[in-house]
């Protein structure tokens, strides 16, 4: 029954609505074109790698140190990618409960099953949306003659203003792939849980706040930091440790799922907006 519920959620919440996918693909393409044009100025002799493309999307920003000389600017691409993904996973679980999901819930006779099914939906959705960025970047890189490797070039580090250190890693697979995915998934679960307490609109405002605070404070307890590759401890002294990020994301996920489960078992399902 659980797998039927998961399939129902994937079919109704993910497979429907081609416009959102087209939009994400279009946005990824624009970001890739933008990067490719900039790359000509960064390094006209060499071609960028797939890793460079992904670094451009998920790099975020360096640590912000307030001073009269430096004005804060949040990273447009990173925040756009994160908030658009957060928006896409915002509405479906809450809306489903007011609609057909009620029937599914009653037929399944299991609130726990329903809840976990939605959690699985969140994880799959984040994977799909991030997957669009990964795939479009890969295809674009190949089509434009880029290197099909995850190696990040020194020029890319220089472009981002990262100090080159002797033991700098050439690949950052965990930071580029796993951590943003985990961070977004855990925030998605948190967002979904909050939606049942304070409605989706307000929980989205909380997500926005978390991302802005993450931009401002390079603090290991502010989860958004782990989704910014530039703040990794591998690239910056005192940066974010991947292990901490994974643990924090898992903790946030567990707490969100757990609280949500406890609450949902007693939740009155009324037709409310």
């Amino acid at each position: 029954m659980f797998f039927k519920m998961v399939w129902y959620d994937l079919k109704n919440g993910l497979l429907k609505g081609k416009w959102k996918y087209l939009f994400f693909m279009g946005l990824s393409l624009i970001i890739c074109i933008d990067f490719r044009l900039r790359w000509n100025l960064i390094d006209s002799l060499n071609v960028p790698s797939y890793g460079d493309f992904l670094m451009y999307i998920f790099s975020g920003m360096k640590e912000y140190i307030p001073s009269p000389m430096t004005q804060f600017r949040y990273p447009e691409i990173w925040i756009l990618v994160m908030l658009l993904t957060a928006y896409q996973i915002l509405y479906y679980p809450y809306r489903d409960l007011s609609g057909m999901g009620k029937q599914v819930l009653i037929n399944s006779k299991s609130r726990i099953g329903w809840w976990f099914s939605k959690c699985v939906w969140i994880l799959c959705s984040v994977f799909v949306f991030f997957g669009i960025f990964w795939m479009v970047s890969l295809l674009f890189c190949l089509v434009t003659g880029g290197k099909c490797s995850l190696e990040i070039s020194i020029r890319m580090y220089q472009y981002l203003g990262i100090t080159i250190m002797p033991d700098m890693p050439s690949e950052l697979n965990i930071q580029i792939f796993l951590l943003p995915l985990l961070v977004m998934s855990s925030l998605g679960l948190m967002q979904m849980t909050l939606s049942f307490f304070i409605k989706p609109f307000y929980s989205f405002a909380v997500t926005i706040t978390i991302f802005v605070v993450s931009c401002y404070y390079m603090n290991p307890w502010v989860i958004g930091n782990y989704a910014m590759v530039q703040r990794s401890s591998l690239l910056v002294r005192g940066g974010m440790e991947a292990v901490h990020g994974i643990c924090l994301a898992l903790l946030l996920s567990a707490v969100s799922v757990g609280i949500g489960l406890l609450f949902f078992r007693r939740y009155d399902i009324l037709d409310r907006e």
């Binding site: 624009i30 009269p68 004005q71 908030l83 928006y87 809306r95 989706p200 609109f201």
Partner: protein, 292 residues
């Protein structure tokens, strides 16, 4: 008779707009953020003043210049300051708070069928005109109140010293920002205009939602559409800045201090175009479309 009904309809909508719970939630959230920002600013100000006093006490000859223009209302209030997380949260949330105030009302009334009850009594023109204006005013006010609260608190402690161009690094405005000259020559007028612009962006975000209700059925997509559009424009502005011209075209930039170069023409253009489009669509479709 029609004027009377228009007046009745308009005041009814205003009462609903300013009497509803969500408007006050928006005002409360905005005010909490703006007052947090003010508190942080004042904390830093008092610390700085204490330090200065100590410096002057122990070495008066070295610290003859009190450097008054570093801290002035004009560069420390929410619309003039920068480099604070509360400020960026506030300005990013402006469209969200403004929309929360009353922009959702037409969608709800259309969906429930309440709009039928009103339209039959007042006519389409009165209803849609009142709806648009009240959504705009509610959005405008939801931003105005927090900003004014911040301004009042800051000005209660920090003097309104005229900004000095020699201290330009402390002001969130450079030579390529709009109103640069006015900021130094007529700072109070600049403040009023900045306040008006920020609130107008809020009001127009809310008014856009009324117009978009004719096209978008999903309530969340509808309410978040202006915010998401602003994010996309923010990225587009970064591209524009890099490839075309070193001037910002993003409303999220020119509503706050510390932004990239901006132009009053672009800001004014946005206001006019968005107003004409949203108002035009609302009135045109409102008057022509079937009411179900």
């Amino acid at each position: 008779m029609e004027d009377e009904m228009m007046k009745n309809c308009f005041f009814t909508e205003l009462k609903k707009a300013f009497g509803n719970k969500r408007f006050w939630i928006a005002v409360l959230v905005g005010t909490v953020i703006s007052l947090l920002s003010a508190w942080k600013t004042l904390e830093r100000y008092f610390e700085e003043m204490r330090f200065r006093q100590w410096q002057i006490q122990y070495s008066p000859d070295d610290y003859m210049n009190p450097d008054l223009p570093i801290y002035t209302v004009y560069n420390r209030w929410i619309g003039g300051s920068y480099g604070q997380v509360e400020l960026d949260i506030f300005f990013l949330l402006i469209p969200i708070l403004a929309i929360l105030a009353y922009a959702w009302s037409y969608h709800e009334e259309k969906k429930s069928g309440y709009s039928r009850n009103v339209v039959c009594r007042t006519g389409r023109t009165a209803y849609f005109f009142s709806k648009y204006i009240s959504a705009f005013l509610a959005g405008f006010t939801a931003i105005l109140i927090p900003m004014v609260c911040n301004l009042m608190l800051i000005s209660a402690f920090i003097p309104a010293v005229a900004p000095d161009v020699y201290y330009d690094i402390y002001n969130g405005i450079m030579t390529d920002n709009m109103g640069f000259q006015m900021f130094y020559e007529m700072p109070f007028l600049f403040l009023i205009l900045r306040l008006t612009l920020d609130c107008t962006v809020g009001g127009l975000s809310a008014a856009c939602v009324v117009a978009l209700t004719f096209f978008i059925r999903n309530k969340f997509a509808l309410m978040l559409a202006p915010f998401l559009a602003l994010l996309v424009i923010q990225y587009a502005s970064a591209l524009w800045y890099y490839y075309v011209s070193e001037i910002s075209i993003s409303p999220l930039e020119f509503i706050k201090a510390g932004s990239r170069s901006s132009s009053a023409w672009i800001a004014g253009g946005y206001v006019i175009v968005i107003f004409l489009l949203s108002f035009g669509i609302t009135m045109w479709k409102g008057v022509r479309d079937d009411v179900f």
